[in-house]
Symmetry: C2
Subunit: 718 residues, 2 copies
């Protein structure tokens, strides 16, 4: 080898080395460069843990303590002060923004100079009995001002007088039995119904339909006392002097009665009160079981079936009117409640998303309470507060979620979900386009047995994941149920079609048969009720906070949305079978009117296939491709929207979810395929069966169409 070749060889070596380093440099440069979705490394386990660990039971206790010292009735000074305090604290906790948003809505208050009460009058017109004007105030709260007495918000004014009829729970089936089988006519009567089983507004509507001129609502011990438990303050049962406040509207999702469909802003046209949505046309008033016993004791008329009898020491005779000897006595309602347009205040806090600021996860719950709101809503509000504090702390440490998180403290929920609905109405367009999910945060506890989650099917998988993590055992979630209504998720879910869920501690519904929790909406909902009986360690509330919070965080921070369409497919299949099964109670009519559920089953099959192949596609999705991830997430987000029909359910334009909505007969209970459900329900009393069955067929067709349309949204090339 000569000098030259040796030199050449040396140069070649050097060049190779240089080239190799160049190549190494190039490759490192190539792969080091972040592409758009390099952030798609998943919702950091560490962040979630940090977020959950930051929440403390003791803090929740303190939040609850401060939220329950005074009454916070919607529309009052005190509730505005609380809004301001919450806003200030949220800002201090580290949210990017927190602001108060107001609306001017129709509220309803007792007349301060003319109390509401029920009386028994003798034939000389003397009031021989008057119901109590207020509840005995619990110890320690004697000097608290502004405790509103029990009343039925939005009751019509009036002093109707007449014979009374006992109508059990005032359900549609109760009135059917009464009028059809017992031959009792409620027209022109004052009816008395026990609380429980269904939303009180439905009882009022049924009474009006039956022709009653007034309705008294009472809490029966059978429904508001747990066996072996003492009345508050010695236990958590309802005392005999307690009564349940509540609104008696039939809004069906309309929000403010004077501005249905539109936000109650300065520029908004308002209907006159007599044109308002959902307002009852007759007086309504609630009483406790001490007063109820007096009214019921001397009733005449038929003896009712056994399942109409509560736990009072009376015969529960139907009436009309009092028994012989007292038949001249009448019942008179004295109702002077006033409806008034009043300003309410939501608090809206935000953490801006780092990657997709235009995608929203909402955690919302109400702040207004009938009195102290010990359980309802302040356990929920305290949980939200601690969630905000924890999230704000993480933001302070430099973290930011992928998507925007919105926290809401709603006002005037007790008056018909007004604060949440007006905000939904004002922001409907951007919510429809951008909202991924809504997690509701009303009362966080209503029993001591187990965690209960109600949510859309696409959240099932996430809920199992999250509760397993938070509770360390999936078995502790007793059940995942359907969403009904009666809380602030309504406008977001049933009107706008945003995937929604709620979580709370609840009783054992199999063994605990009382309605709701006994002191619900009474003055006895205090901080002490929770601290002494429901959750002395505040660990149940912490678990609820962590479940709600983890749902929000996973939804806000996962690159790929944790929504499961195959769970929706399973649910649709189950519910389609159930509704078809229900129709099979009428085999002859199904034949005669040629009613078939085949179209629905076929649509569900179509949906199931689409969901399966959608999730197969997800498995091979390139998570580093920002556009592909966004497109898949859009499909996941919009799936729930696909179940909304802009034409609404029959006669209920603001209930638009074809798969889940309350039945027309009970706002609290979520029904699947509510259009079909109601049409089948109406068969029972239809003057024209052919028409009624036509409606069943129409509703099946709408359901089938909706499921087909939803399947289409899962097809990327539809």
């Amino acid at each position: 080898m000569g000098f030259l070749s040796s030199r050449v060889f040396k140069w070649i070596c050097w060049l190779s080395v240089v080239a190799a380093f160049f190549l190494i440099g190039f490759l490192i440069g190539w792969f080091a460069r972040p592409t758009q979705s390099a952030r798609s490394d998943g919702p950091s386990h560490a962040v979630l843990q940090e977020f959950l660990d930051e929440m403390q039971a003791e803090n929740i206790r303190q939040h609850l303590r401060k939220f329950t010292r005074l009454p916070h009735l919607a529309g009052t000074e005190q509730n505005l002060r609380l809004a301001e305090r919450i806003r200030d604290e949220w800002l201090r906790y580290g949210l990017d923004s927190a602001e108060i948003v107001h609306y001017d809505v129709l509220l309803s208050y007792p007349n301060e100079t003319k109390p509401n009460y029920i009386s028994v009058v003798d034939d000389a017109g003397n009031e021989v009995f008057n119901s109590s004007l207020s509840e005995p105030v619990p110890e320690g709260y004697e000097d608290v001002p502004n405790i509103v007495p029990p009343y039925s918000a939005f009751s019509a004014k009036g002093q109707p007088e007449g014979d009374m009829v006992y109508v059990n729970y005032g359900r549609t089936e109760d009135f059917f039995l009464l009028q059809r089988d017992m031959g009792v006519n409620c027209s022109g009567k004052i009816v008395i119904a026990r609380y429980g089983k269904i939303f009180r507004g439905n009882k009022v509507k049924n009474a009006i339909l039956a022709g009653a001129k007034g309705i008294i609502l009472f809490s029966d011990p059978a429904d508001y006392c747990a066996p072996g438990v003492r009345p508050y303050p010695d236990g958590w049962n309802l005392p005999g002097g307690g009564a349940q406040r509540g609104n008696v509207l039939n809004l069906n999702g309309a929000g403010d009665p004077l501005t249905p469909g539109y936000p109650a802003k300065e520029y908004t046209y308002r209907y006159r009160t007599d044109e308002g949505a959902g307002l009852p046309s007759i007086p309504v008033h609630p009483i406790g079981y001490n007063d109820a016993a007096v009214l019921l004791r001397n009733m005449g008329g038929q003896i009712p079936p056994n399942n109409w009898k509560g736990d009072l020491n009376v015969s529960y005779r139907i009436g009309p009117g009092f028994a012989d000897g007292l038949a001249n006595r009448k019942v008179r309602m004295n109702i002077h409640t006033i409806n008034r347009v009043t300003r309410i205040y939501n608090v809206i806090g935000k953490i801006r998303g780092a990657v997709e600021p235009d995608r929203y996860i909402i955690l919302g719950g109400h702040r207004d309470a009938w009195v102290f709101g010990g359980i309802d809503p302040s356990t929920g509000a305290a949980v939200v507060h601690e969630t905000v504090r924890s999230a704000g702390t993480l933001v302070g440490r430099g973290w930011r979620p992928r998507r925007t998180i919105i926290f809401a403290s709603w006002d005037a929920e007790e008056f018909g979900l007004l604060g949440s609905t007006e905000w939904a109405e004002e922001h409907a367009k951007i919510l429809q386009e951008r909202a991924v999910a809504y997690i509701n945060a009303d009362s966080a506890i209503e029993g001591m047995y187990t965690l209960r989650v109600d949510c859309v099917p696409s959240l099932h998988t996430l809920v199992y994941d999250v509760t397993k993590k938070v509770l360390a055992s999936r078995a502790l979630v007793s059940a995942i149920s359907k969403l009904g209504s009666g809380s602030d998720f309504e406008a977001y879910f049933i009107r706008l079609g945003i995937a929604s869920g709620r979580a709370r501690y609840t009783k054992n519904t199999k063994t605990e048969k009382y309605s709701s929790y006994p002191v619900y909406h009474s003055v006895y909902e205090t901080f002490e009720l929770v601290e002494r009986f429901y959750d002395p360690s505040f660990r149940k509330l912490l678990a609820v906070a962590q479940v709600r919070g983890a749902l929000v965080l996973r939804l806000a921070d996962s690159p790929l949305l944790p929504l499961d369409c195959t769970e929706y497919a399973d649910a649709l299949a189950k519910y389609a079978r159930a509704i078809a099964e229900a129709a099979r109670k009428h085999p002859d009519e199904l034949l005669e009117y040629r009613v078939s559920f085949d179209a629905l089953f076929s649509a569900v099959d179509n949906f199931t296939a689409a969901a399966t192949s959608f999730h197969e596609r997800l498995r091979t999705l390139d998570l580093t491709n920002a556009m592909e991830v966004r497109m898949a997430n859009d499909q996941l987000m919009y799936l729930e929207r696909a179940f909304v029909d802009p034409l609404g359910l029959p006669g209920r334009p603001f209930y638009r979810h074809i798969i889940f909505a309350p039945s027309s007969h009970n706002k609290y209970a979520g029904e699947s395929f509510p259009g079909i459900y109601d049409a089948l329900f109406d068969i029972q009393n239809a003057p024209r069966p052919d028409k009624a069955w036509e409606e069943v067929k129409r509703q099946i067709s709408i359901a089938a169409f909706t499921v087909h349309a939803a399947a289409m949204t899962l097809n990327p090339t539809a």
Copy 2:
């Protein structure tokens, strides 16, 4: 310098070189790596030019020739064959897919054994005059089968007989004048109205409201003959034996009358025909001016105002009935038209988008014709065909648009926009979420003067750009106008809120006063009509093809959507001023009922500010950031959606666009702020002015809310 240091120095040199190469490699690697949006290099000028150059006038001529040899009435075998041919050719041209989608909708045909006609009967019951049963067929088409005679589709059946009343154009104002000022009662009469000014369905509705038991529609030479032009085939005027077919529905966007709101599929519930949407309750029939002259010649009654007189050599007396001496003669309508559920066929072709396959640009126009469809719709269909051919050719060369392009050949437009509306109903959810724009392609020419574009304000800037490019002079676009209705964009624009536009060659509306084009919907709409008179070189049609095509391509291929929100702001400001000005005709009532437009003006100001800052933000947008581009495009796409109110306009649930919709009094004319417009219109004849003004206030409030909501969608952090 010792040996060591020299060696060290040498090594340092070498290391530096190696390090430098590594660094260079790294940097090249770093910057060579494409990030997600490297494709955002803009809609290639070259591609657009190639696309436009590919289209040929001669091809359009040939497409028109083959589309117009036979009648293609919706629901006929011939129109299905044409659908199949179009599908096959689209596939051959290079689309990714092309398929036929069917619906079963209510159509309407003359009874083949009992012809429709109008007669004059004497007092012995003899028919002393009968209107012609068909139009004289143009030369060369004598042997063509299946030419449907002139009829009013969906007319009620019946043989009403009675005195006739001449109602001018049958507009609301004509009936006002007639009934209020002239004291003529139309109840129980057969009214005769001339075609023109408003949609024929509105004339029929007005006649029904006035109590008429039948309505005859005729083409007056004043409205269907241009001065100095000879009747076809020697010119392009309507011959005396020609008559205008057309549907007489009042669908207000419902689509198939039996399945309003839902696609007319196998699983869909159908109303009975007597429950159908928009069906007239009285017989209707169209006649030409030869027959009209006979009917009108002997009319009695008052002499009308001069502007009620057409160009026939008759006095245009109002009636009711014939003049003295002939007063015993009556007019009898003999109408046997049959409504029948019939299968129709859309052709849907697609080019899948390369980057955002889930974003759609739609180019759609109808295929069905009353007879040969020489102008309506085949000039449009020929233009679409050539557009598809050109786009397919580019796809064959390896090009693919950023977004998906959908081409549609709609069926049964003539029967109430049925094909396009049913497809919109079936695909409503994915269209709402994914459709960027809809470009309509009905008749491409209806005059010889200039190009006319009707579109949403956000398309104005693009339209100017495109027409300047295609026509080499912006001045050639006479005007950009508001969209009305009467063609297939209706469901996409007015129901779903998809940005829409249409372009066609038109007459000089300032000097050419006849209605539409003279032979509209007659048998004289032939290929020869276009080739001899309207566009012998086919260059006008080519220009229309290029404008429509360029709009589609720019929308489909620009990384940032070419939509301009500030143009929308300008339009809103202009229209708000105009509607407020219109209200000022009633200064006293504005005061008395406290009607103010301030809320609307303030909303428009808010929108203007939002639009301005949105476009400022766009200027600094990082076009290489895929997520940011997608977010901005989503805002641009969803802006139009924000103007849709799910509650619809009063009494018209399928007309949901609050800014643009036809007035209730004329489907053809697009009104701005149609809710306010109609409420103000109704003031004229309101039995309760206070109620009518309340409605004006309510509509102003809804408009203000809608504009505020739209402004919010332009705010990225709302």
